[in-house]
């Protein structure tokens, strides 16, 4: 189901990959009319519905509709633009994978901010969770006949979310922890690397990814 051709979207977020890359990729894949706003922060905090970002603004026929919460925004866009399966079980499997990925955020922050006495325990927990996610990606992929996609043979919400996930943990989070890519990259199987590279080459994503650094060089380099 496509929204009207006169519908425009504004994604409000920081000028960072952060929690918005999935939203950006979905809007791009949808070939939606969209722009990004980077509100002055924290000056514009009080002007957001829940004092947080991202915020999605949808404008159509003079009406404006607002949605918050990054994963709700993603699921909404995925459904509007046909990237979420209509079958409830298939949708739940994709949502489950995305929720598992999201669980890694607090674990990452916990090990980053841990005091010395807790550091090693928090790092273990982070690694355990990360290993489980990578294993799950591999498991889903092994059950799909197409190795360019997690489910079916076309770009889906899960593919987009997986790409954004690895971009966050290999590229983005380096600003917080410079060795994060050295922790994550060795865990990737050749199949997952191929999947990431396939998604990166999806024509639907080109308008956005052509403006970003490719993950290909990062993933295929021999030197860490």
């Amino acid at each position: 189901m496509l929204s009207g051709s006169d519908t425009v979207y504004v994604l409000r977020y920081f000028d960072l990959i952060g929690r918005a890359e999935g939203c950006r990729l979905l809007l791009t894949a949808a070939n939606a009319s969209w722009t990004e706003e980077h509100p002055e922060w924290p000056a514009e905090k009080a002007n957001q519905p829940f004092e947080r970002l991202p915020v999605l603004v949808e404008r159509s026929n003079g009406d404006e509709w607002i949605l918050c919460e990054s994963l709700t925004i993603e699921r909404y866009l995925a459904r509007v633009f046909g990237f979420m399966p209509t079958d409830l079980k298939q949708a739940a499997l994709q949502e489950q994978m995305v929720d598992q990925q999201a669980d890694l955020v607090p674990a990452f922050m916990a090990q980053l901010m841990a005091t010395d006495d807790m550091k090693s325990k928090q790092i273990d927990e982070f690694n355990t969770l990360l290993d489980r996610i990578v294993k799950e990606h591999g498991r889903i992929l092994s059950r799909n006949s197409s190795k360019q996609h997690l489910f079916g043979d076309q770009l889906s919400y899960a593919d987009i979310s997986l790409y954004a996930f690895y971009k966050v943990y290999i590229v983005y989070l380096k600003i917080y922890q410079s060795n994060i890519d050295e922790i994550v990259k060795p865990k990737l199987t050749p199949e997952i690397i191929n999947l990431i590279l396939s998604i990166e080459k999806e024509p639907l994503l080109a308008p956005h990814l052509s403006k970003c650094d490719s993950m290909a060089a990062v993933l295929t380099s021999k030197a860490l």
Partner: protein, 219 residues
């Protein structure tokens, strides 16, 4: 169709799932695996886990992650609207309530007084925004005792589970939290809690244990 919910024997983050299963009027039971002994026997080493028992020799459908479990059941049994915008508004509220839970977890893991004070402020500020939004929705919905529409919805169920966790579960670890929440609750939200508690679709479950409506209103 029958279901098994695997979780700890407590309110936690599974109350909305229990209410959805009750409201769906399906056969369901709960399992409380020995923990952490049974960790490795779960698909992803965590709970909750929902098992939809197969009929006719098909494989069981297993889903994890509390949000995904809830949204699957809510869509399957008609508690999330078909309209995508209306659905998204209900999901947004759930995610916001869980952000409040995460802020509270931050409070629990705070090491020093400064961190505790900062975490508590974050929790209270976000809870204030959530209560304000919930009150606004109830008021603009003609104070019908529902957040949206005129019958029990996913959002109503999540709200009930959210406050049940804060007022009757978390209170064991953080006794002051219940007091903070009670002082912030508006009459509109209290009214909705009562409405959900007595809704025929879920009363079979909400009538077990102590009344949330009473716990929420207590001085």
């Amino acid at each position: 169709m029958s279901y098994i919910l695997r979780y700890f024997d407590g309110i936690g983050i599974s109350e909305a799932t229990r209410l959805l299963l009750t409201a769906a009027n399906v056969e369901w039971t709960e399992e409380h695996p020995e923990w952490p002994q049974e960790k490795a026997n779960q698909p992803y080493g965590r709970m909750p886990v929902l098992i939809e028992k197969a009929v006719d020799g098909e494989t069981d459908f297993v889903i994890c992650e509390s949000g995904s479990i809830e949204r699957y059941l809510a869509r399957k049994y008609g508690f999330i609207p078909a309209d995508l915008k209306q659905a998204a508004l209900q999901e947004q509220l759930r995610d916001l309530m869980f952000d409040v839970n995460h802020a509270l977890a931050g409070r629990l893991s705070s090491k020093c007084k400064e961190d505790r004070v900062e975490s508590e402020k974050k929790f209270e500020d976000l809870l204030a925004l959530v209560i304000k939004e919930q009150t606004k929705l109830i008021t603009s919905n003609d104070n019908s005792g529902h957040l949206f529409g005129d019958s029990l919805s996913y959002a109503d169920i999540v709200l009930y589970g959210f406050y049940k966790n804060l007022l009757q579960s978390v209170v064991v670890l953080l006794p002051d939290v219940a007091d903070i929440v009670r002082t912030m609750l508006t009459p509109e939200v209290l009214n909705l809690i009562s409405a959900v508690e007595s809704d025929p679709k879920v009363v079979k479950h909400t009538s077990k244990g102590n009344s949330l409506a009473r716990a929420a209103a207590m001085e």
